[in-house]
């Protein structure tokens, strides 16, 4: 992993949320990149090779759980820790069945958020 590679990749179609999370993570010392367009997720992942992905479930035109399932089923990307997030009431169950490592519901406490990201880095 080179220094330019972000350790955390944020995927959400809401730019404000992406920037807010970026601020929080940067403030906590993580290298962060975010992706607003779900079509480019694959490309981002392949290029950036992040250690942790934080992804919203409902992306414009795409379902985050599909991306999650695909990443987890690809041996090249299956090692990436994926934290799914959503404001949708039924989301957690769907995300866990899509093999996401963790789930956090929106809105969240930033301490909880940071705890989950740190936990993702701590896992092998």
């Amino acid at each position: 992993m080179n220094a330019n590679n972000p350790e955390v990749l944020l995927i959400d179609d809401d730019r404000d949320i992406c920037r807010m999370m970026e601020s929080i993570l940067k403030q906590a010392g993580f290298h962060v990149q975010y992706c607003l367009s779900p079509e480019r997720v694959h490309q981002y992942v392949l290029t950036l090779k992040p250690r942790v992905i934080v992804m919203d479930m409902f992306l414009s035109g795409m379902d985050g759980t599909d991306i999650c399932r695909k990443l987890k089923s690809d041996p090249h990307t299956s090692g990436i820790q994926i934290i799914m997030m959503s404001a949708h009431p039924d989301a957690e169950q769907l995300c866990r069945s899509a093999l996401a490592d963790q789930f956090i519901s929106k809105p969240f406490d930033i301490d909880d958020f940071l705890d989950k990201v740190k936990a993702a880095f701590a896992s092998p």
Binding site: D14, M20, M21, Q27, A87, K106, F113
Partner: protein, 902 residues
């Protein structure tokens, strides 16, 4: 003697003593025909002296006038002597004129013939002689001669021979009796004399009844000559032995064969051979006495035979015989009687013991009554229960007769006894069967093979109208309608082929020619030997049943019509859950035919995703008889699925048994879609609302982190307020969503074992961080676990605590308590606020309930917090309640089962 009566002058004087002597001495003979004594003949004086001295009564009649002299012995009765004394010296003719006719013939005879005359065995002729009138006397009249040898007087000597006569009479009697015995007695007798057994005597009895011979043909002939047939029998030998030994031979019941007028016959004889002895003790003959006992023996034989026959008969019938002596209570019985009571035949039972074995209920009422009646009528008879030594209670039948004496006093009772338990049981069974037949609601009829009715019960009478008198003996065709006459033959044919004919539905006609619907069950009636003797028919009048069936069929038609025009699906199922009927609406919707449904079942119509749960729920309802309520999708004929709400309820009979299931399915696709849309909308709405909140909250917290601790107090407080209000907004959105979930039943619980104490402590800590106005103090002496959804429980506790704070603005404390109550955890939150009126205690847990009145505007809110608490606790099988009074604060409780999982 002669010298004594020699006349001597010096002795011519009367000598002696006694009454007659005195009388002779004192008598004035001078004036009597006799002249003075000294002039009397010496013969006379001497004779008188002898006479006077004799104790034997003597009379002397002297001289031509028969002057009477007699002695004292003639004066047997001294009291009466006076009248007889006058006879002395009188002529006999005058002295006893009454006796003279008796005396004179004898006296005349003695005087004229000069011989002695004796009269033997005369009645007492001279009144006054001893022995009285009954005595017997012998009178001896003897001539008395004078000196010249001429008969000068008659001496009468009286000899009392009463005793002699009596002895003689006895001998004569004996003789007579003996003769009778021998000749007339029914006992045959004979006397054989000598070694040749010469027949000396044989009486009529023997001759007529045994020998069948005439007297002249046997007397004086040897026995063996008369009866050659005896040569081969034992009798000659026996006679010989008696003759030689002198010992009697007696035999009873000996068999003898005798040639009678009608050939040889067998006789039974009792006989005795008794030796007859000579004075020198040698045997000269044998007296034979024979009694023909043939009749008795044969009668005895017959009695014996009939006794044996009776014995056999009684053994065969198990009849016991008994004989009760009513005088002394002696009770004699055959062994069978003891056996009837369950004892060995040899057991001795007395009458009292036997009574003791009689059932107490029957003792007086039956036996006592029968006994009393028997003493009156002579006939004894009863049936009663007894205690058998092994087999419990048995029934016996006793029959008897009373024997009375001449004075009508009961002497004995003879009778029989029999165990009739089996008969009784059979009787009871027969009676029971008869009662059943009679009381049956079904007509029970039997007929013979000619088709004639042989029995007819009450129900038959009721159903068909014929009385038994009218119908018995009549052909069964009386009951058969003209168009069904052949049916009977077919039925018989089927029966003979061993087929069963049960509940055969047909028609029969009644007395009034009404046609009835009948259900027939026909069986063959067999005799004791298994041969078929007729048939029995059980006929049930099913006219009303048929009528009901028709009514049912009409109402079913109505039901079908109704069901078919319903827009809903209507279906019915049997008690085990198999569906049998679907209405036309369902057929049209599914596009299936009845045959297809029958073949493939209704499962094919149900959406595959719903089928498993559908079947599960349906089986549960059928098994438990609980109403069925389920939402599922049915496939339309064009392949499109539409949501339906199906309901089914069991239809039960009076006993509560399920008869059928009646179900309906209503198309709720529109409703369902609207609901789904609403649900989706709320989810989307909450999602959409939360998205901006997420950003706001994130920045607020980030800003607080980066700038909250600086000198700018205003900034810090502003950021805090933003964060607090954003949290509130988040919670409101969450509550709205929860309500939707609760309403649609979609609130999912993720239960785990959690420590209620730890959870409460966490929540309190969180709330205290943002709400410093109230001090929340916790009392939790014991750590308790519940099996619950952590997030939902947290929500419950938050709602209760925030409520307590919200409605007690003027108070400074909240008390939280967790304790065990039996198997429950009891959680409570107490505030000291505005309280709740008792009437509102239930309402506070209702949805959208809000505090009313003046406080309404002071305490805004959706009114959903306590509703959510109540629903969540209910889903956890817990309870919620409140204790409160208006203005006196409130204590909110919930209780949950203590978690038993370790």
């Amino acid at each position: 003697m002669h010298s004594d009566i020699q006349p001597r002058p010096n002795e011519r004087r009367i000598q002696g003593s006694g009454q007659m002597y005195d009388l002779i001495q004192s008598k004035d003979w001078e004036n009597n025909a006799m002249g003075a004594i000294p002039d009397w003949s010496p013969v006379l004086v001497n004779l008188l002296n002898v006479l006077l001295a004799s104790g034997v009564p003597m009379f002397l009649f002297w001289g031509p006038e028969f002057i009477c002299f007699f002695n004292d012995a003639c004066l047997a009765d001294p009291a009466d002597a006076g009248s007889h004394l006058e006879m002395l010296g009188c002529p006999a003719k005058e002295a006893r004129r009454d006796l003279w006719p008796v005396l004179s013939p004898a006296i005349e005879l003695v005087i004229h013939k000069g011989i002695s005359v004796g009269a033997v065995n005369q009645p007492n002729p001279v009144y006054g002689l001893a022995g009285g009138a009954d005595s017997n006397w012998t009178f001896n009249y003897s001539p008395v001669r004078d000196e010249q040898g001429a008969v000068a007087g008659v001496l009468l000597i009286c000899i009392d021979n009463t005793a002699l006569i009596m002895g003689l009479n006895k001998a004569v009697e004996h003789e007579r009796q003996f003769l009778n015995l021998v000749t007339q007695s029914p006992v045959a007798m004979a006397i054989f004399k000598g070694k040749d057994f010469m027949i000396d005597t044989a009486n009529d009895s023997l001759l007529e009844k045994i020998w069948f011979k005439k007297r002249q043909d046997v007397l004086g002939r040897p026995l063996m000559e008369v009866f050659p047939e005896l040569a081969t029998q034992i009798f000659p030998q026996l006679l010989k032995e008696v003759f030689e030994t002198g010992r009697s031979h007696i035999e009873n019941g000996a068999v003898a064969y005798i040639d009678t007028h009608s050939g040889m016959k067998k006789f039974y004889l009792d006989y005795e051979y008794a030796p007859l002895y000579n004075p020198d003790k040698t045997v000269y003959g044998i007296m034979v006495t024979v009694i023909n006992v043939t009749d008795q023996v044969e009668a005895r034989q017959q009695i014996k035979d009939s006794e044996e026959r009776l014995q056999l008969a009684t053994e065969g019938t198990h009849l016991a015989i008994w004989d009760l002596n009513l005088q002394n209570g002696q009770f004699v019985y055959s062994p069978r009687l003891a056996m009837i009571f369950g004892y060995h035949g040899s057991t001795a039972l007395n009458y009292q013991e036997m009574q003791g074995l009689t059932h107490p209920d029957d003792m007086d009422a039956v036996v006592g009554k029968a006994f009393a009646s028997a003493l009156q009528t002579g006939i004894y008879g009863y049936e009663a229960r007894i205690f058998h030594s092994e087999n419990g209670i048995r029934w016996i039948r006793t029959r008897g007769k009373v024997i009375f004496d001449a004075e009508k006093r009961p002497l004995r009772m003879l009778g029989t006894m029999m165990d009739i338990t089996d008969q009784k049981e059979i009787q009871d069974k027969v009676a029971m069967m008869a009662a059943i037949v009679q009381s049956s609601e079904d007509a029970i009829i039997t007929k013979d093979f000619e088709g004639r009715i042989t029995s007819w019960n009450n129900a038959a009478r009721r159903i068909f109208g014929f009385s038994p008198e009218e119908i018995i003996g009549q052909p069964i065709t009386w009951l058969i309608p003209d168009d069904r006459m052949e049916e009977e033959q077919n039925i018989l044919k089927r029966l003979r082929n061993g087929e069963r004919v049960e509940h055969f539905e047909t028609q029969r006609k009644t007395k009034s020619n009404d046609i009835l619907d009948i259900s027939l069950t026909i069986s063959l009636v067999r005799g004791a030997g298994g041969e078929i003797i007729g048939t029995s028919k059980i006929a049930r009048d099913i006219s009303s049943q048929k009528r009901i069936e028709r009514l049912v069929s009409v109402s079913e038609e109505k039901f079908r019509l109704l069901a078919d025009i319903m827009p809903q699906f209507i279906w019915t199922g049997n008690p085990s859950g198999g569906l049998q009927y679907f209405n036309r609406t369902f057929m049209e919707f599914s596009g299936l035919t009845s045959e297809q449904l029958e073949e493939n079942g209704w499962h094919v119509v149900v959406h595959p995703e719903d089928l498993e749960e559908n079947l599960h729920q349906w089986k549960h309802s059928v098994a438990n008889g609980e109403p069925f309520l389920f939402e599922h999708r049915f496939r339309r004929h064009d392949g499109l699925y539409r949501w339906h709400l199906s309901r089914a309820v069991p239809s039960k009979d009076l006993d509560g048994n399920i008869q059928m299931w009646v179900g309906s399915s209503t198309d709720i696709d529109e409703i369902k879609r609207h609901e789904q849309q609403k649900d989706d909308f709320i989810k989307i709405a909450s999602h959409e609302l939360k998205t901006p909140v997420t950003t706001i909250k994130g920045y607020a917290q980030l800003l607080l982190k980066t700038h909250g601790k600086g000198d700018d107090v205003f900034l810090a407080e502003s950021l805090l307020t933003i964060e607090k209000q954003v949290s509130k907004l988040t919670k409101l959105i969450a509550d709205l969503l929860d309500i939707t979930k609760i309403e649609t039943g979609n609130l999912q619980l993720r239960k785990e074992k959690i420590s209620i104490n730890a959870l409460v402590q966490e929540v309190i800590k969180e709330i205290q961080a943002t709400t410093p106005s109230h001090i929340i103090s916790l009392q939790d002496p014991e750590t308790l676990f519940v099996y619950a959804d952590r997030y939902k429980m947290e929500q419950v506790i938050i709602n209760l605590l925030t409520n307590a704070i919200k409605y007690s603005p003027k108070a400074g404390k909240i008390l939280v308590d967790i304790r065990r109550s039996g198997h429950e955890v009891d959680f409570s939150v107490q505030d000291f606020g505005i309280g709740i009126a008792t009437a509102d205690h239930k309402k506070v847990f209702e949805r959208f309930y809000r505090v009313s009145g003046k406080d309404e505007k002071t305490y805004p809110g959706f009114g959903i917090g306590l509703f959510i608490v109540h629903e969540i606790i209910s889903l956890h099988n817990g309870k919620t309640w409140v204790e409160s009074e208006k203005d006196k604060g409130a204590v909110f409780h919930f209780s949950l089962p203590v978690c038993s999982i370790i």
